[in-house]
Assembly symmetry: C2
Homo-oligomer: 198 residues x 2
């Protein structure tokens, strides 16, 4: 295959991105090739800016371009409530609901023995320090509803409860708008277990 070397290299680089296979990488590369030079420049500038300007909040580990982040300094937010999530993108997901007005703590992952990620690889110390400082009434564990997230939640609950703080876990059940028929048994089990009085 006689293909210009720079194009081959771009396809290779694009393939390193998550969810981008050989075919998509090729399509993206050809798009970049045909698109105006300014588009390519703007994309690169955006990539560089993210690498240069975005850091992690020293309080909650969320991504931010100011430290501490806007969530940690916003006086309108209730700092008695800390919502613990695995990744910065989870914060975005929760913010979209617009009904959580507390603070966050990003763990930067979940306990996963299979991937060799232990508690020491997560930002747990900072969370404990925040609770120990006082003023926190409830820690909501919003780690993922999977094995790793659940293990992390159990581990954190064990550390947090002795500090005298209320520890809660987000509800697991059948997703809204879905059909019971398509829910897996563990989800249905969780939904039954977590049933509420109407």
């Amino acid at each position: 295959m006689t293909q210009p070397e720079p194009l081959t290299r771009l396809i290779e680089e694009l393939q390193r991105l998550p969810g981008v296979g050989r075919k998509s990488a090729q399509r993206l590369a050809f798009h970049i090739l045909r698109a105006p030079r300014e588009d390519a420049d703007r994309l690169c500038q955006a990539v560089q800016d993210v690498k240069e300007k975005v850091t992690y909040c020293s309080v909650c580990n969320n991504i931010t371009d100011i430290d501490p982040c806007a969530y940690c300094t916003d006086e309108g937010r209730d700092r008695r409530l800390i919502c613990v999530v695995e990744e910065p993108q989870n914060v975005i997901g929760i913010e979209k609901t617009r009904d959580f007005r507390g603070a966050y703590h990003v763990l930067m992952g979940a306990i996963s023995p299979l991937q060799g990620i232990g508690p020491d690889d997560l930002k747990i110390k900072g969370l404990l320090a925040r609770v120990e400082q006082g003023g926190v009434e409830e820690v909501i564990l919003a780690t993922n509803p999977n094995v790793e997230g659940e293990a992390t939640a159990i581990y954190l609950a064990r550390l947090l409860k002795p500090l005298g703080v209320r520890v809660t876990r987000i509800a697991m059940g059948v997703p809204v708008g879905s059909d019971l028929e398509y829910a897996d048994e563990i989800t249905v089990h969780k939904a039954m277990e977590g049933r509420r009085e109407m």
Copy 2:
């Protein structure tokens, strides 16, 4: 949503790429954010190199980093045969079969009145000039098997035949490895029409 501006901008830029929706753009942006700085730099360098070093062959319009391209200068290729395709990526698709050893001509699109693309927007003049120069025995029209590709093929055949060259069209039919049950009626019609003696 309090999200660092550079991240929002990167997500926006990524969303401009074909086949990248809001969710994928977000996933890609977070990946870039977490990945090592060198990865981001290498990606940007690859994008810049493609924009700077890759041009179009002055003979066949295929993408290349040398002009004329490797296909047009390769003495091992049979220049009596020209395979006409819509886009440079189609050349890669045909090369993969490893059984075409002729030359190429890239039209840079197909006639599409709906998208306002007429014959004058395509690289047709160069193709006619190559045939008029002599030495070409067959032009294989490998434009896409859809309305635009078919219209383009018919249009080209009308221009090429008077020049005394053999004009052929790639076969349309049911794809190998597929199931007749899932083939649409036009494809089946084409497959029946193009049937061959066994």
